[in-house]
């Protein structure tokens, strides 16, 4: 088989089911210890608030959304999710080193598109995801994974709609990936 020849070059990933079972156990342990699930987008929110506060404190205070997160004893960066996200970064780094995926800076894309297109798409995607995660009260890990694991109605809604939209619109952006 053609694919078999390339197996040597393929990056070594763990069995997805092993990853899934371990991730599920991690969710249980996290809930067991902290009483709440995992999350990721909250860290960026803290970063936004911190930046805004550093540049124009008065503006951050007057903004009805940001002011919800300012004004504590500590900086908004002194937050559970920020530390967790730091951990995600280092965990990824560790795994990258272990499995030999840590290489020089590169861009992953379909051969049919240019680097510029990919980066614009990534930026747009990031912006949309950022806005959407605020309305959805969490991203795919916070709302969809932890939310549905704890049987939250909102979590299940986010999971279903997020992936449903993905399937509905995937054909539009086929060129980006295949």
């Amino acid at each position: 088989m053609e694919i078999n020849n390339r197996d040597n070059n393929r990056p070594h990933y763990i069995n997805p089911y092993l990853g899934g079972v371990l991730l599920g156990l991690l969710v249980i342990i996290t809930v067991y210890i902290t009483g709440r699930g995992l999350g990721a987008s909250g860290a960026v929110k803290s970063a936004v608030v911190t930046t805004a506060e550093a540049i124009t404190p008065a503006h951050a205070e007057s903004n009805p959304y940001m002011s919800k997160f300012t004004g504590g004893d500590h900086s908004p960066m002194y937050n559970w999710l920020v530390f967790e996200s730091l951990g995600i970064f280092f965990g990824g780094l560790l795994s990258g080193i272990l499995f030999g995926r840590l290489k020089k800076i590169r861009i992953e894309k379909s051969p049919k598109i240019t680097n510029k297109t990919r980066l614009i798409a990534a930026l747009t995607g990031g912006i949309l995801f950022g806005i959407g995660s605020q309305f959805g009260r969490g991203c795919s890990s916070g709302a969809a994974l932890s939310g549905s694991s704890t049987f939250s109605l909102g979590g299940v809604i986010v999971m279903l709609v997020l992936f449903g939209t993905g399937y509905a619109i995937a054909w539009m952006f086929k060129k980006l990936w295949i």
Partner: protein, 213 residues
């Protein structure tokens, strides 16, 4: 190679560890010591059952050892018990109620069909434990109306307390509306007088029936 052609050994091991943890959970699972035997609705209904209350005049037989099917349990602390208690009663302080030997003792009494009567200084002190034991399935537990204080004041004329209402602490001792607003006292006064004869007739029936509450 497709992922489904690989051998998921590690996955299997992880899942089996997970299953073992669950099995350990089942093995170490303790049966709860107490469960509610009455649901909320039944728990409310028993409050109206006058046969679950023990009236002071019923004490006379117990004290004189005529009635042997009743055990009095004093829920006050040792000190108060030592200072004075109803003759023949046992002392289990409310704080020690759930101790294993006490529960065992109460269970024995239950299976022997002996009625257990809780009392404290007043009815209030025994009310909570009485409700709790009823709800958790001790269907032989009753509560002494008036408590020890009432007994102490009337111990020489227990049989006469049938006509006394002093132990019924839920009876209003005052005309609240009148006491609280003097201005309207005249108006209230009239209506009360009118109602009075009707009410008095009913009274005798109700008191014994409706128990302490």
């Amino acid at each position: 190679m497709h992922v489904h052609e690989l051998n998921p050994k590690k996955t299997l091991i992880t899942v089996i560890i997970f299953v073992i943890v669950i099995i350990v959970g089942f093995l170490t699972l303790k049966k709860p010591r107490f469960t509610y035997k009455l649901d909320m609705k039944q728990s409310v209904e028993i409050l109206h059952d006058s046969s679950l209350y023990f009236y002071p005049w019923q004490l006379a037989d117990v004290v004189d050892n005529v009635e042997s099917n009743v055990v009095l349990i004093d829920l006050r602390d040792k000190f108060s018990f030592g200072q004075g208690h109803i003759p023949g009663s046992e002392n289990i302080s409310a704080y020690d109620l759930t101790e294993e030997n006490n529960i065992e003792h109460l269970n024995e009494l239950k299976s022997a069909g002996i009625t257990v009567v809780f009392y404290g200084n007043d009815q209030l002190q025994a009310n909570g434990p009485w409700m709790w034991f009823r709800q958790t399935g001790f269907d032989n537990v009753k509560i002494l109306l008036g408590g020890y204080n009432y007994y102490k004041a009337h111990k020489n004329r227990l049989s006469q307390t049938k006509s006394d209402k002093g132990f019924m602490c839920e009876l209003p001792r005052y005309d609240y509306a009148k006491a609280a607003s003097k201005k309207a006292s005249k108006g209230v006064n009239n209506t009360v007088k009118k109602k009075k004869p009707v009410v008095v007739r009913r009274k005798k029936r109700t008191v014994t029936a409706s128990g302490g509450c």
